[in-house]
């Protein structure tokens, strides 16, 4: 009956030294205190930690004396009986005591420190400990993880979704637009590919990329645009458009040829000019450069073109060529003549603007007299006779009844307070009315012919009056011819304004008036909107107050417009790109309706 206590210690170079001591007691103590039989220099061990009692030949009992326990084969306990023959491993703090059978009836307790004195004393990988590597995820897993995430989220997911979308996507853009919300989009995750928001007009297509980007790696085709924009006119035959562009500079040429190599449609395709993903709001107006690529020197390449070269409104733009009436009449002839040739416009009317706009003289005086009734000012103004159209873009033709007749009365008889007037625009009716007037009315009845009083014979004077009167009555209808001739001749009501052909001339059986055509729009290839100019006086563009003839063409010329307007990048009051006045797709109603819907080109200030 004895214990053999073997203490194993390790030298600095790792060699183990075993010191063995026999203890004959049947009960030995374990603890940090030096008086213990097994003295463990271990702060995790109580000064008097446990006792081991030998119960039988090989049996021992280990019992903690304090509150701290110990481990038996890894299990914490306060009291344990152990068969030394089978062996066991006890653990006290950082020490291990292995129980094994001794030679005869003894028990061997092998004591060894298995834990370092302190954490710092444990073996440390110096490189790793002193660097950040131990405190966070390594660079390599972080790098691969992030890269994989990006590739999955921004490439694998959208492409997979694109490939797995319904094979037969028969929806056209209208159907796509009707569907709200991202749930309806057939391709998931491709919104992250959008380089910027779509313009206002295409907003409903946001996120539904495949509506326009129909095929992978194939650029947007005109067919996609024309699904909705069915009625867009071509600018010109495509063969001519292809021939039209001039030198675009090396950079753009290289880009164009690379694009062509990969099958990107070039000049003339919708997307060449209309650039999307440039931000929400109105689609950017096509910049001047897209026009001038061709038009700055179009005549060099399309030698048969009738269009003048233009590269910038302020610097290189042909003089305006308004459509003027060269010959008036029933079958008028119109022609586009450059303003440089000082063309005239003959509507068939006679009208001196200067007389009507004069601040002095009969017209002004008459206007003042009628100002109470018609609201004229001290002299007549343009707006007294010219009425704008409801959209304000241009002016209605001058109307005789409405715009002239307040002064130029066609009244010829008063019946019970009502003035009878000659019918304007119907010379035959005028003639008929005058004949009827002379037929149905007599001369004024002399006063002495009135009454029922009996007359005495021999009153010669009365007889003369009687004869004169009835002679006049008989001759009255013949007076109509003279009156008709007077109306149509110089000094008459019609002649002042109209060109009159007398009977017998040019196969006319009767008096005839040359038909009048007032031109409502002189510029047929470009927009002009009077409303946009309503801050200006009429006279600043139209020199009406000095015009003596109705045939004077009172249009402002290019130079006059350039007072305010310059090219897109100019420093003028109104930098104006081509699109301010011109439309690429002439089918939009141009030039007959307002261009209020046409986007204003970008200006520097924006």
């Amino acid at each position: 009956m004895s214990f053999e206590i073997r203490q194993i210690s390790t030298t600095a170079d790792g060699r183990e030294i075993v010191r063995s001591a026999a203890n004959e007691k049947t009960q030995i103590s374990i603890g940090r205190s030096s008086e213990n039989d097994i003295h463990l220099q271990d702060l995790a061990v109580d000064p008097m930690h446990a006792e081991i009692e030998q119960l039988g030949k090989r049996r021992i009992r280990v019992r903690a004396t304090g509150t701290l326990g110990f481990d038996v084969d890894g299990k914490p306990t306060l009291d344990a009986e152990i068969d030394a023959g089978k062996g066991a491993e006890l653990r006290f703090g950082g020490h291990r005591i292995t129980v094994s059978p001794g030679d005869e009836a003894g028990v061997v307790l092998t004591v060894q420190r298995v834990e370092a004195v302190s954490d710092a004393s444990e073996e440390k990988d110096e490189v790793r400990s002193f660097s950040l590597a131990g405190t966070m995820l390594g660079k390599r897993p972080l790098a691969w993880g992030l890269a994989l995430f990006v590739l999955l989220a921004f490439l694998a997911v959208p492409i997979t979704s694109y490939l797995l979308r319904p094979a037969e996507d028969t929806r056209n853009i209208y159907e796509v637009m009707k569907q709200k919300g991202p749930g309806e989009d057939h391709v998931f995750g491709d919104a992250s590919w959008s380089s910027g928001p779509l313009s206002k007009a295409h907003h409903a297509l946001e996120g539904k990329c495949e509506s326009c980007h129909e095929k992978a790696f194939v650029s947007v085709r005109d067919t996609a645009c024309k699904t909705c924009h069915e009625k867009v006119h071509d600018h010109a035959p495509i063969e001519r458009i292809r021939k039209a562009p001039g030198d675009m500079g090396l950079g753009r040429q290289v880009l164009a040829s690379v694009g062509e190599m990969f099958g990107r449609p070039g000049v003339g395709a919708c997307a060449t000019c209309h650039i999307e993903h440039e931000g929400a709001g109105p689609m950017l107006a096509t910049p001047q450069a897209f026009c001038t690529d061709c038009h700055s020197s179009l005549s060099e390449r399309l030698t048969d073109t009738k269009i003048g070269d233009a590269s910038d409104f302020g610097e290189a733009h042909p003089e305006f060529r308004p459509m003027v009436q060269v010959t008036p009449g029933k079958h008028p002839r119109f022609d586009r003549v450059s303003l440089a040739q000082k063309p005239t416009d003959d509507s068939g009317l006679k009208f001196p603007h200067d007389v009507h706009l004069s601040k002095t003289g009969g017209v002004a005086q008459m206007g003042r007299r009628l100002s109470g009734e018609y609201g004229f000012g001290d002299a007549l103004a343009c707006s007294d006779c010219h009425k704008p159209t409801s959209d304000g873009v241009r002016f209605e033709p001058v109307d005789m009844q409405r715009d002239c007749q307040m002064c130029h009365s066609l009244g010829f008889e008063m019946v019970d307070g009502t003035t009878r007037t000659l019918r304007h625009g119907q010379p035959d009716q005028v003639i008929a009315d005058l004949r009827a007037y002379y037929r149905s009315t007599g001369p004024a009845v002399p006063i002495q012919l009135g009454g029922m009083s009996r007359r005495r014979p021999g009153n010669y004077a009365d007889g003369k009056v009687h004869h004169a009167y009835f002679g006049a009555v008989a001759a009255r209808p013949n007076g109509a011819d003279a009156a008709i001739a007077a109306v149509f001749s110089k000094g008459g009501a019609c002649y002042d304004c109209h060109t009159i052909t007398p009977p017998g001339v040019a196969d006319n059986a009767n008096w005839a008036v040359l038909p009048v055509h007032q031109t409502s729009r002189f510029f047929t290839k470009g927009w002009f909107d009077h409303k946009a100019h309503d801050t200006e006086d009429c006279e600043s563009c139209h020199s009406a107050p000095t015009s003596k003839l109705a045939t004077d063409l009172l249009l402002p010329d290019l130079k006059s417009c350039r007072d305010c307007h310059g090219g897109e990048n100019s420093n003028t009051d109104v930098p104006s790109g081509c699109a301010l006045c011109h439309s690429y797709h002439m089918g939009d109603g141009a030039p007959w309706v307002s261009n209020a819907g046409v986007a204003r080109p970008r200006t520097r200030a924006q």
Binding site: L43, S121, L155
Partner: protein
């Protein structure tokens, strides 16, 4: 350090240490600066309609240059593992890496045409900027920290610092043997504290709120505070040892903090570079996928 201005005029033929920043008389700084200037001037002069973006011919040009640069800059990771000297020495390579990398700020940003949004294209740009900024931080740290690191070490190697700590631990352990369990537990707390623990935040800030050694000493003072120092009280010895350990720990932690500040940028720089390469791939493929 490399960036410290040398005020001693250099003799012809005299070779002094030249850091990668000053390499070859700032050759790469001049090249990269010139390149950036050309790119900016061209950006201002070239009239791209309707406005600058990555899809114009100039945008494609900048994008191609940028991509080439990024790929080449990434190759430093491969190159630095093979040291050679001469014209394409690792130093020359690093100098070019730094300055051409900085010029990417201009090239990459001009490529975007300042059209940024929540998409994969801007992600690539943002990652590129993150890589560059982390690199700039790294250079700044490399320029300023080694001096502080050296001052703090006081001629000690890292191994010596650790050994010093171990020696104090052993002494503590021995000195604490006579203590009662409660006091021994305090000492054990200090012994079992991992000097390299505390996590990333503690490393970077140098603030260890739950320092066990400090707690142990504070606890120990409960006994020693009210007793006169008789000179042979084991408690006093333990107290003195804990104080020594604290000083050593403070030095070690300053060292760890400086090293962490020196290293942390690479934990952004390298992973962000890989994420950037992935985002670039997605950027390029997506642009042509939905052309």
């Amino acid at each position: 350090m490399a960036t410290k201005a040398s005020h001693i005029p250099r003799q012809k033929g005299e070779t002094l240490h030249d850091g990668f920043l000053r390499h070859a008389g700032f050759k790469w700084a001049k090249i990269a600066g010139g390149l950036s200037l050309i790119v900016i001037v061209a950006y201002l002069l070239i009239d791209v309609t309707p406005r600058h973006n990555g899809g114009s011919w100039y945008g494609y040009t900048l994008g191609t240059i940028g991509l080439g640069l990024i790929l080449w800059l990434t190759m430093l990771g491969v190159r630095k593992r093979k040291m050679t000297d001469g014209r394409w020495s690792l130093k020359a390579w690093t100098s070019a890496h730094v300055y051409l990398g900085l010029s990417l700020i201009v090239i990459g940003t001009m490529h975007t045409g300042f059209q940024l949004g929540w998409n994969v294209h801007t992600l690539a740009w943002a990652l590129m900027m993150l890589v560059i900024l982390s690199g700039m931080y790294g250079i700044w740290m490399y320029a300023t920290l080694p001096q502080a690191l050296s001052n703090n070490r006081e001629e000690m190697t890292q191994g010596q610092m650790l050994d010093g700590l171990r020696a104090i631990d052993r002494q503590l352990h021995d000195a604490a043997q006579p203590l009662n369990p409660e006091q021994a537990a305090l000492v054990r707390m200090s012994l079992e504290e991992d000097p390299f623990g505390g996590g990333l935040w503690a490393r970077l800030t140098g603030r260890y709120r739950n320092c066990a050694t400090l707690a142990a000493q504070t606890g120990m003072r409960r006994w020693t505070g009210s007793q006169p120092d008789t000179g042979n009280d084991p408690l006093e010895r333990v107290d003195a040892l804990l104080e020594k350990k604290q000083a050593l720990l403070a030095q070690l932690r300053r060292h760890l903090r400086l090293r962490a500040l020196l290293e942390i940028w690479l934990y952004v720089h390298v992973p962000a570079t890989f994420a950037l390469l992935a985002a670039l791939t997605a950027h390029i493929i997506s642009v042509f996928f939905y052309w």
